[in-house]
Amino acid sequence: MANWAGCLPIDTLKSRYQIAPMGQYTGTVLGSKSVLKEIIQKEGLKSLYKGATPVFLRAFPANAACFFGMETAYSFLNKVM
C-alpha cells in the first residue's frame, strides 16, 4: 500500500504539486492557480494519464512480491515463535 500508486489523475496532480516551489500553485484542484487548471489550459486532460504504463507494469510484480514477503515472514515467525 506504500504503493502507492492509486488513482492516476489525482496522483499526477499530487506529483506536480509536490515538486513545485511553494506558492507556485494555490492547490491541486481548487483556486485560480491550481495544478489542474494549468494542465487543462496548457497540456489538455490527457496529460493527467501520463505515467500510466509504469503503473500497470508495476502493479503485478510489486504486489505479488509484497504478499510473498508477508507469507514468508508469517511462516518464519510461526515456526520460530
Binding site: A2, C7, G27, A59, N63, C66, F68, Y74
Partner: protein
C-alpha cells in the same frame, strides 16, 4: 508473540518487498508525470535516459523515505482497516456466502485516514528527489528534509496532503474489496471448502491481480465520468 506483533512484522517485510520491486517503476512514473509532453517516448526510453543521467541506481532515487515509511505505514493501514471494519461491516461481511463488498470497500477507505499523515510528507520528499535536476536533493534524505523545512516548515512538508488522502482513500476502497473478492473466487476455483484458509498461490494471485484489476476498473470509471 502476539498475532498483532506478527502482523506488524509481516506487514513490514511485505512492504519492503513491494518497495524493492516496485520503486524503479515508481520513479519512471513520477518522471513521466512531471515531464513536459514529448520528453520521453515511453517507459524504456525514460528508464534509459534516467540511468544515463544518474547512473545505474538512479531508478532507486528517493527509495529511503519510502522504505522508512513502509513499516509504520503498513501497521497503520491495517489498524485503520480494522477500525473501518468495526464501523462499516456487518458480522457476516467476510463470509463467502454473503460477502458484502461495499462494506469492505468503506472499511478499506478508512485506512487512508491513518496512512495519509505518515505518507504525505514522505511522498513530498520522494517526488522532489525523483525529479531533482540540481543534484542537491537526490543525495541524502536528511538534506532533502532540511531543504523542504527551510522552504516553509510544516506547511511545506505536508504539501499535497489532501491530494494524497483523496488518492489513497479511493485506491484503498478498490484495493481491499477487489482483494477480498478475488481471494474468495480463487478459493472457490481450488475447490476449497468455504471457511478454509486460502492457499499461498491464491493469496499471491489475489494480491497481484487485485491491484491490476482495480487499476483498470478505476481508470475505465474515470474515463466514463
Amino acid at each position: 508473540m502476539s498475532s498483532l506483533a506478527k502482523d506488524f512484522i509481516a506487514g513490514g517485510v511485505g512492504g519492503s518487498c513491494l518497495v524493492v520491486v516496485g520503486h524503479p517503476f515508481d520513479t519512471i512514473k513520477v518522471r513521466i508525470q512531471t515531464s513536459s509532453t514529448g520528453t520521453y517516448k515511453g517507459v524504456v526510453d525514460c528508464a534509459t535516459k534516467t540511468m544515463a543521467e544518474g547512473g545505474p541506481f538512479a531508478l532507486y532515487r528517493g527509495v529511503w523515505p519510502v522504505l522508512a515509511g513502509v513499516t509504520p505505514m503498513y501497521a497503520m493501514c491495517f489498524f485503520g482497516y480494522g477500525i473501518g471494519k468495526k464501523m462499516f461491516c456487518d458480522e457476516d461481511a467476510y463470509t463467502a456466502e454473503n460477502q458484502k463488498l461495499f462494506q469492505i470497500a468503506l472499511a478499506g477507505g478508512a485506512s487512508a485516514l491513518f496512512t495519509t499523515p505518515i505518507l504525505a510528507p514522505g511522498e513530498r520528499i520522494k517526488c522532489l528527489q525523483q525529479t531533482d535536476k540540481t543534484g542537491k536533493l537526490s543525495g541524502s534524505f536528511a538534506a532533502a528534509v532540511r531543504h523542504v523545512w527551510a522552504e516553509g516548515g510544516v506547511s511545506s512538508l505536508t504539501k499535497g496532503f489532501t491530494a494524497t488522502f483523496s488518492r489513497d482513500c479511493v485506491a484503498s476502497m478498490f484495493y481491499f474489496s477487489t482483494y477480498e473478492f478475488l481471494k474468495r473466487k480463487f478459493g472457490d476455483m481450488e475447490g476449497k471448502n468455504r471457511g478454509d484458509t486460502p492457499s499461498t498461490l491464491s493469496t499471491l494471485c489475489a494480491g497481484g491481480f487485485g491491484k491490476f484489476l482495480y487499476l483498470i476498473a478505476l481508470n475505465i470509471l474515470l474515463i466514463l465520468l
